[in-house]
């Protein structure tokens, strides 16, 4: 039962870590470190929850989770499994099945949506002589995005071409190519898949928001290696304010509303007044913590307790 208790404690630690990490600002100074930490928390949480339930079930073997599971699968049942063990076994298996099915369901849903989108693009979008590898959709609203996949497509609307200066457009395209190259969609997918299981969970929603913001910042940073910071910032500001809408008249202040958590505002602020990148040693600690967190459930499963 010690393994079960430790795994249950680990899953609680993961929930606490997710709650603390969601509003934290420091990961924005090193988005890739933040993303890796989020992935480790998510993975450790899932494994620890499933592992804790299964560890309760195989506790009578007294030789740890991994040993117990192997013995159980072999049909090696030492003592009668009481109702508690049966419930724990069913619960752990069900939770594992649920997590895997949610992931598969998300993959299928996203895959179908992308296929439909690519079909329509093939019929409606045109190439652009000045922008090799980019598709243009003739519509006045401003849009720029990529359809991720093995053969990703980067798409801009005619409205975006009108909205942005040529160099700004290059910065936006560099951002989108970074999404496509680093498969940020696959980073996000396990988190969004949790919505199938916990549609109302505030922690899940905050985690998704935090990871998507970090992924955008990562793509911003990649774009900065190709284009000057000011161009990406003005492109982002133009995009964010592109909705033609009557604005309430009043005094014009320059300061951002300090409370605004809108991703566009947060990203723009970060580009205009950048804070220094995370120091090397903090990055190392973050990656180390992430690695340890991801390895811990497996280590606990092997522990003969």
């Amino acid at each position: 039962m010690i393994t079960a208790a430790l795994l249950a404690a680990l899953s609680l630690v993961c929930v606490a870590a997710a709650t603390a990490l969601a509003p934290a600002r420091w990961p924005r100074r090193g988005p890739s470190s933040g993303i890796v930490l989020w992935q480790a928390i998510g993975l450790a949480w899932g494994l620890a929850m499933v592992g804790a339930a299964l560890a309760v079930a195989v506790a009578p073997y007294g030789r740890g989770l991994a040993f117990g599971l192997v013995a159980l699968v072999r049909g090696d049942v030492p003592v009668a499994l009481g109702p508690l063990r049966i419930v724990a076994l069913a619960g752990g298996t069900a939770l594992f099945g649920l997590l895997v099915s949610a992931l598969l369901a998300s993959l299928v849903q996203v895959g179908l949506a992308r296929r439909r989108h690519r079909t329509l693009l093939a019929l409606l979008a045109d190439g652009h002589p000045g922008l090799p590898g980019t598709l243009v959709v003739d519509h006045p609203a401003a849009a720029a995005y990529c359809v991720p996949g093995v053969r990703a497509r980067v798409v801009v609307s005619a409205g975006a071409l009108r909205l942005l200066a040529r160099d700004e457009l290059q910065a936006v395209l560099a951002h989108e190519r970074a999404h496509a190259r680093e498969r940020h969609d696959l980073v996000l997918l396990p988190f969004t898949s949790l919505r199938w299981i916990f549609p109302r969970s505030r922690i899940v929603r905050n985690a998704i928001d935090a990871v998507s913001l970090l992924v955008e910042m990562r793509a911003d940073d990649r774009a900065l290696s190709e284009q000057p910071r000011r161009l990406l910032a003005t492109a982002l500001l133009r995009f964010g304010a592109s909705e033609p809408r009557a604005t309430p008249s009043g005094t014009l202040g320059i300061a951002f509303p300090a409370v605004s958590q809108d991703p566009v505002v947060v990203r723009a602020l970060r580009l205009i007044g950048p804070s220094p990148a995370l120091p090397r040693h903090i990055q190392v600690i973050t990656w180390g913590t992430a690695g340890a967190l991801a390895a811990l459930p497996l280590a606990l499963a092997l522990l003969p307790l």
């Binding site: 998507s212 003005t234 202040g253 509303p257 991703p263 205009i272």
Partner: protein
């Protein structure tokens, strides 16, 4: 052009013919409409129409011994569908597309505009 690209190009051309004509056409009609710029085998036209129907982009109905095809929706409807996906103004974010930025409204949009003015004025002063 490889096979896949050629089929994609033909699908697009056939859809454009059907959108322009605005009436249900048979495979023979479509072939005739395309005859001007390319000579296509009748079976190729049939294949393309069949693929488009399977994708749900064409609706078809019997007319004697032939099928008549028409677009399932107008070109504008499909452009609107693309853009609704692309702009994703719903809060329910999905991972299907990776968008550059979502536009904001009201106070936040006003603040973004003034920040933009600020940057551009600063740049003007700096030369």
């Amino acid at each position: 052009m490889d096979g896949v690209n050629r089929l994609g190009y033909l699908e697009r051309t056939v859809m454009n013919v059907l959108w322009e004509r605005g009436e249900p056409l048979t495979a023979r009609d479509v072939g005739r409409a395309l005859a001007g710029d390319r000579d296509l085998a009748h079976t190729t036209v049939m294949t393309v129409l069949d693929r488009l129907a399977k994708k749900g982009l064409l609706a078809r109905q019997r007319d004697g011994r032939a099928w008549r095809y028409r677009p399932a929706a107008s070109r504008e409807t499909y452009v609107a569908e693309l853009m609704l996906n692309a702009l994703d103004q719903t809060r329910d974010r999905d991972a299907a597309l990776a968008r550059f930025a979502r536009s904001v409204t009201g106070e936040e949009a006003r603040v973004l505009r003034s920040a933009l003015d600020e940057i551009e004025r600063g740049r003007g002063r700096g030369g």
